[in-house]
């Protein structure tokens, strides 16, 4: 029975990696759909969302089954509970990637995006997500902490993009709609960065048992 348990834990790990890979693909596709205006990438990002949702349900069921059937303790318990939380963040990433793809359909041919640092922001966000999935795959504590720190980069880029959009609207009011769409996209990217940070925090938790913001709680929490 314990053999089956180890196997299921392993399955949980690999399924989670696959889901992470899909998220990376979704956001990369969404970014290409926006920047290179390739419709097949937009469609792919939207298609991936439902796939990611399916993964979320499957992994959720697996987590619950593991929790109740095997009653895991210590490290295993942390691994399962953090997996349970990570999939929620991943699912949100999938949703936001699809949202970006949907909005970018309205922005084809718009000149706004070439002048705004949205490409840099997309790149930074993709890197962050990649790193957080990497840290999860390899159980790399350093990398996970790196992701948590790099949130500032994406946040900084967001305020930069926001400033640029304000200037753009001021100087060219007829581009207002495109600018607002782009602001939405920037916000989604910024949110994806936050989710990547969440994932990294859960990775830290599953390795060390420490939860950010929970240090002041009595030990054993």
């Amino acid at each position: 029975m314990r053999d089956g348990y180890r196997k299921r834990l392993e399955t949980l790990h690999t399924e989670l990696i696959r889901m992470g890979a899909l998220c990376e693909e979704a956001i990369a596709s969404a970014a290409r759909g926006l920047l290179d205006e390739l419709p097949e990438y937009r469609e792919k990002a939207i298609k991936l969302e439902s796939e990611i949702d399916a993964y979320e349900r499957e992994i959720e069921a697996l987590c619950v089954k593991l929790l109740f059937r095997e009653q895991p303790v210590a490290g295993d318990l942390r691994q399962i509970t953090s997996a349970h939380k990570i999939i929620t963040d991943m699912e949100r990433i999938g949703d936001q990637a699809a949202d970006i793809a949907e909005i970018s359909a309205f922005m084809i041919g718009s000149s706004v995006k070439s002048d705004i640092h949205i490409a840099d922001m997309a790149k930074a966000t993709i890197n962050m997500l990649s790193d957080s999935v990497d840290s999860f795959v390899a159980g790399d504590l350093e990398k996970a902490r790196g992701v948590i720190e790099s949130d500032d980069i994406v946040d900084g880029l967001f305020s930069k993009v926001k400033g640029e959009l304000i200037n753009s609207i001021a100087s060219n009011p007829q581009l207002g709609e495109d600018c607002l769409d782009l602001l939405m996209i920037a916000k989604y990217l910024e949110r994806i960065g936050d989710h990547a940070v969440n994932i990294a925090e859960w990775v830290v938790y599953s390795i060390t048992g420490e939860r950010k913001g929970a240090y002041d709680l009595p030990s054993g929490g």
């Binding site: 990696i17 992470g20 890979a21 990376e24 999935v133 795959v137 390899a138």
Partner: protein, 561 residues
């Protein structure tokens, strides 16, 4: 083993003790009974002789003695005449008692009876007196077993002590026996001389040890061969089990996949690369379908080939080969482009020539047009000749041109000559060419260097704007020791410039920055390609600097002589 020996020892000693005790008891019992009957015989004889002497009066006198044996006098008919323990008149006829009957018949009779009621054993001895009466003496003991409980107690105590001793000694002996066996050196079984009985076992063990050692050596050797082979492969190789976990993996695989794992063995293959093509290739291979996929890991493009490993009908894993196809694909693309370009570039002038020639041949052309057409045909032919010349130069450079004689060549002289030769074209485009330089000698093939320099200057003029300028500088750089180290030729123009992301590609054959100007500018598109090869042949370096909008500079560096 120790336990077994100990248990056996204990059981053996216990059995010995019990058996000894029983036998001793039997012997003691026998001796006791014999002594009892002997004593009674004597006593009986004494009483009989006393009665013979003094008659019945004697019996009456001893009646008073308390613990004396019971004495009964029985008449000839069996009635009891006297008994010192009981009232004689109330006693039944004793003729049926075995000892009495025996005494009547043989003179003496004996018997022993156990009375259950008083739980005592009584020995009887009867003797026929001279007058025919029978005198019987009876002695009652608590039973012959009476002394036995005490004996048993002692026996038990002794048995316990002996048993305890047996256990202690047994333990020690066991240890002594077993210890040498435990101390056996199983790595060198033949050197042990403890027990002769173990010799066959040990020699067999030695044979097996030898076989195992040999097999281990073979396996190790094979492992070393395998890992040497795989580790020195440029291709990445992964061996996966049926659950897609890594069984073995070479260094190249880790490098190609950019996996920063110390040891991925035992982990899921997915941890090495989680991209869809990789995963689906592995999944299909594990389902029994050999598959190939392309995947990009960072800036590299990899070809993934996954093949199932079968054991009979069962798929027990997969072998995944990873090939870096970045360079190959780039080369293929270049070759394709080159072929397409070459045919295009050769065809265009030929089409023009054949068109004009056809018009003239058909006599459609006016007489005054013919010289113009001929001029066009001449121009296109010149262009073809230039292109064929360039292609020949290039193929000569491709072949190495290493055989050409090298000599000390003054670059300054070559640059001046080149500027001289292009001055007419520069004048035609009103491009001003300035030169500033010093004498720098390098070792090289004069003809090739000449070709390279004229190509660079030619390009700078050709791709310039009307009224632009070209500034050529030649400098000699010295090293720390003051010796000439490098010749640097810089050709800067004020032309259309080269966008940064195309600066690498300008050296490709037939590549032109602005394709729409292809027709407007006379050129073969091979110039910079020739320059690059020429510089490479002289161990030099070439570099293009441009902001992509206003002008560009080409810098050639040659090691100085």
């Amino acid at each position: 083993m120790r336990r077994r020996i100990l248990v056996f020892t204990c059981l053996l000693s216990a059995a010995a003790i019990v058996l000894t005790a029983v036998l001793i008891h039997m012997a003691v019992y026998r001796g006791f009974s014999e002594r009892m009957s002997r004593e009674m015989e004597t006593e009986c004889d004494l009483i009989v002789s006393a009665v013979n002497l003094s008659g019945i009066e004697y019996l009456r006198s001893i009646q008073k003695l308390g613990s004396a044996p019971r004495i009964t006098l029985i008449d000839r008919d069996g009635s009891v005449l006297f008994d010192n323990g009981w009232d004689a008149s109330s006693m039944e006829n004793h003729m049926d008692r075995p000892e009495v009957r025996m005494a009547v018949e043989q003179g003496v009779g004996e018997d022993a009876r156990f009375s259950a009621t008083i739980s005592k054993r009584t020995f009887y001895r009867a003797t026929k007196l001279g007058d025919g009466k029978v005198l019987r003496v009876a002695m009652t003991t608590d039973s012959v077993f009476a002394p036995i409980p005490r004996l048993t107690l002692i026996t038990l105590a002794i048995a316990a002590a002996v048993f305890a001793a047996a256990v202690v000694i047994g333990t020690r002996v066991t240890r002594r026996i077993v210890e040498p066996i435990n101390m056996l050196d199983l790595d060198r079984p033949e050197e042990n001389t403890v027990y002769g009985e173990l010799a066959p076992l040990l020699s067999r063990m030695k044979r097996q040890n030898d076989i195992i050692a040999k097999q281990m050596d073979e396996i190790r050797q094979r492992q070393i061969e395998f890992s040497t082979m795989t580790d020195n492969m440029r291709e990445g190789m992964l061996l996966l089990d049926c659950e897609a976990r890594v069984l073995s993996c070479n260094r190249s695989a880790l490098e190609l996949l950019r996996a920063n794992y110390a040891s991925p063995v035992g982990h899921a293959a997915l941890t090495l690369n989680r991209s869809e093509p990789f995963y689906s290739a592995v999944e299909r291979a594990l389902a029994g379908i050999p598959s190939e996929e392309k995947l990009s890991a960072s800036e590299k493009r990899l070809q993934v080939m996954a093949n199932p490993v079968r054991d009979g009908d069962v798929i027990c894993g997969a072998v995944v080969l990873l090939l870096d196809v970045t360079e190959r694909e780039d080369r293929e693309r270049l070759r394709r482009e080159f072929t397409a370009n070459v045919s295009h570039e050769l065809r265009t002038p030929l089409t023009v020539i054949s068109g004009y020639a056809e018009i003239i041949a058909n006599g459609v052309a006016n007489g005054e047009d013919i010289p113009r057409f001929a001029g066009n045909i001449y121009d296109e032919t010149q262009r073809l000749i230039a292109m064929v010349g360039d292609i020949m130069t290039l193929s000569r450079l491709d072949e190495g041109a290493g055989s050409s004689p090298r000599e000390r060549t003054d670059l300054d002289e070559l640059v001046r000559a080149s500027i001289q030769r292009t001055s007419e074209m520069a004048g035609g485009m009103s491009v001003k060419v300035s030169y500033e330089g010093e004498t720098v000698e390098i070792i090289g093939v004069r003809q090739i260097l000449d070709e390279a320099i004229i190509n660079v200057i030619d390009n700078a003029i050709k791709y310039n704007v009307e009224g632009g300028s070209v500034s050529v500088t030649l400098k000699k750089l010295t090293n720390d020791a003051g010796k000439p180290a490098e010749a640097v030729l810089c050709v800067a123009d004020t032309g259309i410039g080269i966008p940064p992301d195309e600066q690498e590609r300008v050296f490709e054959r037939f590549y032109r920055v602005d394709r729409s100007r292809r027709g407007a500018v006379q050129g073969t598109g091979l110039g910079l390609s020739i320059v690059k090869h020429a510089v490479k042949l002289h161990d030099g370096k070439i570099e293009v600097k441009s902001d992509g909008k206003h002008g560009s500079s080409v810098i050639l560096r040659f090691p100085a002589a």
